[in-house]
Symmetry: C4
Subunit: 369 residues, 4 copies
């Protein structure tokens, strides 16, 4: 470990972000057609190693189905607008054309409505009915209360997600805290859980029995977690640490937990770099919010932006790039790198000579100033 | 120590600023309600590890009281406008609406008025009368002359502050220089003294008998001390060095001297990072000058900006963020990170699993490019 | 090798770009007139260690001749406009004055026309007829199909160029992939092949029997290869690695393969730095597209920008600097460094005391923050 | 020496600029009045460790006298306008108000006039007559031809200056090159010679018998030497290397050669940092061109900008800061750091506890990101 002396009384480790690294072509190249980008988690195989971010500006039941059909998987935010409102589409339509402050006030009000278990059931059913893997995301605070509804809804895959999720939540209060270790093992749905950003935190999350771990806390230097809370680990390092935890967990238990990189992806090249650092797949928000079908209709926000006392993030406009299909599979019309994410990943694999994403994880990296 | 060869004839040490580091979440998380941000110095306990900067644009007798009631402590500049003028409020009101140059000229003139010991007495009395800890700041040059007045005023806590304050001031001139070691021990008021920015300088200041040390000289890369004087140490390193000095001093004397980080704080995340580097509390100027009650009324300046031959710093406009209460305890209305500083610190503590600021000092850091 | 731990499960190497380094003057200086910038490849000697980039905005048969007469060598893109169209000059004339989108659409359409072997023959003949070395560039995909036409055309020097070219292309498909090792040895034309960007990739390309290697993949931090594909090695490192491969190849075979640095050159100083890192010559695109005679007529583009699904690069306007002669040999009219590239290189050689480019390769470098 | 592997076939050294470092206050402070900024070279003592740059926009006979009276020393460019023209003031007056291109053309024409030995004599006499040290600068190419005129003029101090000056100039041509070693020892005037930027180059220049060495080649990252020629060493490293050469030369010969840092100084803090790195004094151009009396009248240029084929640098406008006295000794009216350079240096010395510039050289440095 590269320990750095910050000063005589405190050390730190040097950490690297995806922007700090680049992939070195090997001595082989490969046909574009021979490249396989698929990945597996639990019993599911997905053609595309890209998960949507469970955000209301990205995933609606409709886009969840479209994304599933395009080879991806998209968790619906089960504490978001679609489980609070019978039909949030008119609201989203309305706020998309309103002045920013007015729109934001109206959205915040919409989040005050309680989550309705029967809507969870209906949304999941709607997605399953289309023949794609149904996936939903919830926060650690709510997950126990919603567990029965999730099982009843026959959800295929559950994401338990927070800014930071630990396997050991400490409380002095009366309500027993969520014991992820018991909960995940008891639940009859495969679970992806995170974020986390260190070897130890990842290892402990793996020990809960989760099928996958979300890796990423305040990964980008412009991240509001980093700016407001002072907390975060650049993503290349977070992934490489979690990769080591995964190897240890595999060694100790024989169970291979998957790593999903969450944060800071803009291009297919970023996806390739996350995979080389150790990810099996990446979670992607803003690039999909830029799709014409995205429910945010040209705006992107996370639920942390709605926080009453300490909002992190905001609702901001995004340039539309093209359809979800174009964002994932092209064609791209310019060289911004924001369309045809999978095509770019495939080309990187072909030009660096790796046939599968598993093989791509072995590629060499340089740290480029 | 990370010695770097600048060239064949000169070495240096690599130093890090707060912007260079980020806090790594541990494997635990914690309830927000279980977090305790208080700190102690001498006989005083403060709920909030934030001291105001003793600057006329930040601390008036009125805001000193408000800040004390909000859990903070605010030294009044005892060589500033409030001890030179019976009532500087009309002046501050006036200059706030004047063109910049005219305003500045009028302010400079106001600083030409002599400091009046009876005003020191009255101001301190006014603050004490409100039931909060009275605190005042003076420069090393003046402190001996004002000592009697300070004791007579029954000041609770004294800050002796300059750009650089050393325990060993050398002079060839006739007037004996201030001997901090004798002075601090003789004075019947607990003293916080600084700034300093190295292990040795901090250690020697601790040996004067001071209750706390201000750590920070030219900490930021845009600091005028750094730019004009070429002098300074990035703050993470300055704190980590002072932390080592504190440990040695504790070991040698059994006395635990407190470290107050002075410089470069903008958000609650910055406060958390300063604590992880070794601070018990932080001194904060500009973020409080942005409060609606701040005496600077939308402007911020330090007394070094008034210097006749070599002004350092200027009077510059600040965006108003909200009331002092909002700046410290929220709610924040956007994700700028400049409001709800304490709320952000609490959240960082909860998400990284540390219950007290003392525990938070043990958190891990990364150096993030 | 400077291995860096990205995290516990992944290492990387620190890499440097040309912008990161600077040349250290030695203890000698030298007369400007005593400096020799020539280089040799196969049986050819060129006065100027600058190859043009085989791009339609830079090299036409006319500019190929001019550049040859100026001491340089300019490969014509044998899959570009000049081998698809009898006379592309009117088209280039036309699009130069059209709105950007319209121009681009028309250019893309022009690239849809098939490559005509008889035009290859005629273009090569035209260049040879002017008494300069004829040089053409093709992609690995096409080179076998065009081999007979190239030999028939009596081409002097062939460049086989792609984003990444490896000596070991893997395919599952039916058509046998290009075996560079057999192909290059069989072909009766000296070959320059690349890009590559690692020791091993360079070494394997050298073993194909190529006379020269193009070094450079995604070299610049703004490179679209780096941004879109996540792939690339900063150029100083790519060259220094290829230099080691060349030394090994020379040691093993007695054959000295030449290194041509491809990417990121703007000034004569950049050329000097590339040579110090290990290059014998540099390939230059944008600086020549800025010449008044350049066929792009104030615009610059690569063929990758025409890609149907995943365009990399774009057609962008360039400021005109002066004639090709001025760009190479001056006089320069300002201090932008974009004119008199050879004059600048000569001056660097004189001021650092090196008489030949071979000697300049020994100069010392600093890494400058 | 901190060797860095650029790649497998090339190493480099890490180098640092003045902007990369900051001075660490020691455990002492000192009275401002007890600080001594003087330095000595040969038989001369100067109160202020600042030499003017021998540029026509900075030094005229008049400003040479003023600067001498202010404690500085200012070499007149003996190949500049004042030795080519009887009275260049009207020309300078004229071009100061002309459009940039016209002005530049007229200035270039003025430099075409030959240098006149009798004007050298008169200018030197004029400066000496005012009772200040007369100093002039010439290029290595011309110095032999002008030697007699310089001795005849009774010049006190000679600066031999070029972008790079070596003690070993190699030529194949007929005219014997300047042998600095013989020339400097023969000449009856103390000589300062440079620029140089490495240990070895500095050492060899010292062995010529020079009284002082100019250290600095392409020091700044925006330097045109760095940009156009690819050549240069960041200044902190150049000084620290020259410092080691000086120590060796002192050890070998008992002769202490002085180091004058040339390049990149903007503030008094920069001067302090150069001294800590090893300089006895600094050469300053732009900060003095900003004085109201400067002959450039609001413009600044070096003679390299006049070069016929490869101009380096340009004529650019400078903001006027105040009189020469204000630039050197204040008062400063704002916190830009460009006025009261000596006052800032004195304050840095006082706050870091060093009484003389010789002592200041021992101060500690940090490398600040």
């Amino acid at each position: 470990m590269a320990e750095i002396e910050i000063g005589m009384g405190k050390d730190a480790r040097r950490a690297y972000g995806l922007d700090d690294v680049a992939i070195v072509p090997s001595r082989r190249t490969r046909d574009l057609d021979d490249v396989d980008t698929s990945w597996e988690i639990d019993a599911f195989t997905f053609d595309v190693p890209i998960m949507a971010s469970g955000m209301d500006s990205v995933v609606s039941p409709t886009t969840a189905v479209t994304l599933g059909q395009l080879g991806s998987v998209a968790p619906l935010n089960l504490e978001g607008l679609w489980t609070r409102h019978e039909d949030p589409e008119p609201l989203l339509e309305e706020v998309a054309v309103k002045p920013a402050e007015e729109a934001w006030a109206q959205l915040r009000a919409a989040y005050a409505e309680p989550v309705k278990p029967e809507l969870i059931r209906d949304r999941v059913k709607e997605i399953r009915a289309a023949g794609v893997v149904s996936c939903g995301s919830v926060t650690p605070n709510r997950v126990e209360a919603l567990a029965d509804a999730l099982v009843a809804a026959e959800l295929d895959l559950l994401v338990i997600q927070g800014t930071v999720v630990s396997a050991e939540h400490v409380t002095k209060g009366n309500p027993e805290p969520l014991n992820l270790k018991t909960f995940v093992r008891r639940l009859d749905i495969p679970v992806i859980v995170g974020g986390c950003s260190s070897y130890r935190a990842a290892l402990h999350l793996m020990r809960t029995g989760a099928a996958g771990i979300l890796v990423g806390v305040g990964a980008g230097s412009t991240s509001s977690t980093r700016r407001i809370l002072g907390m975060g680990v650049p993503q290349a390092t977070a992934l490489a640490d979690a990769r080591a935890a995964r190897m240890r967990h595999l060694d100790e238990t024989g169970v291979d937990v998957h790593l999903i990189s969450d944060g800071g992806i803009r291009t297919g090249g970023d996806i390739a770099k996350a995979i080389v650092c150790g990810a099996d797949a990446v979670m992607v928000g803003a690039p999909l919010a830029a799709a014409t079908e995205a429910p945010g209709r040209g705006f992107h926000w996370g639920q942390a932006a709605v926080h009453a006392d300490l909002p992190r993030g905001a609702r901001y406009p995004v340039d539309r790039v093209g359809s979800l299909e174009q964002v994932l599979h092209g064609p791209a019309s310019d060289d911004a790198g924001t369309a045809n994410l999978v095509g770019a990943l495939r080309r990187t694999m072909a030009l660096t000579g790796y046939a599968t994403t598993k093989e791509l994880q072995k590629a060499e990296l340089v740290v480029a100033g």
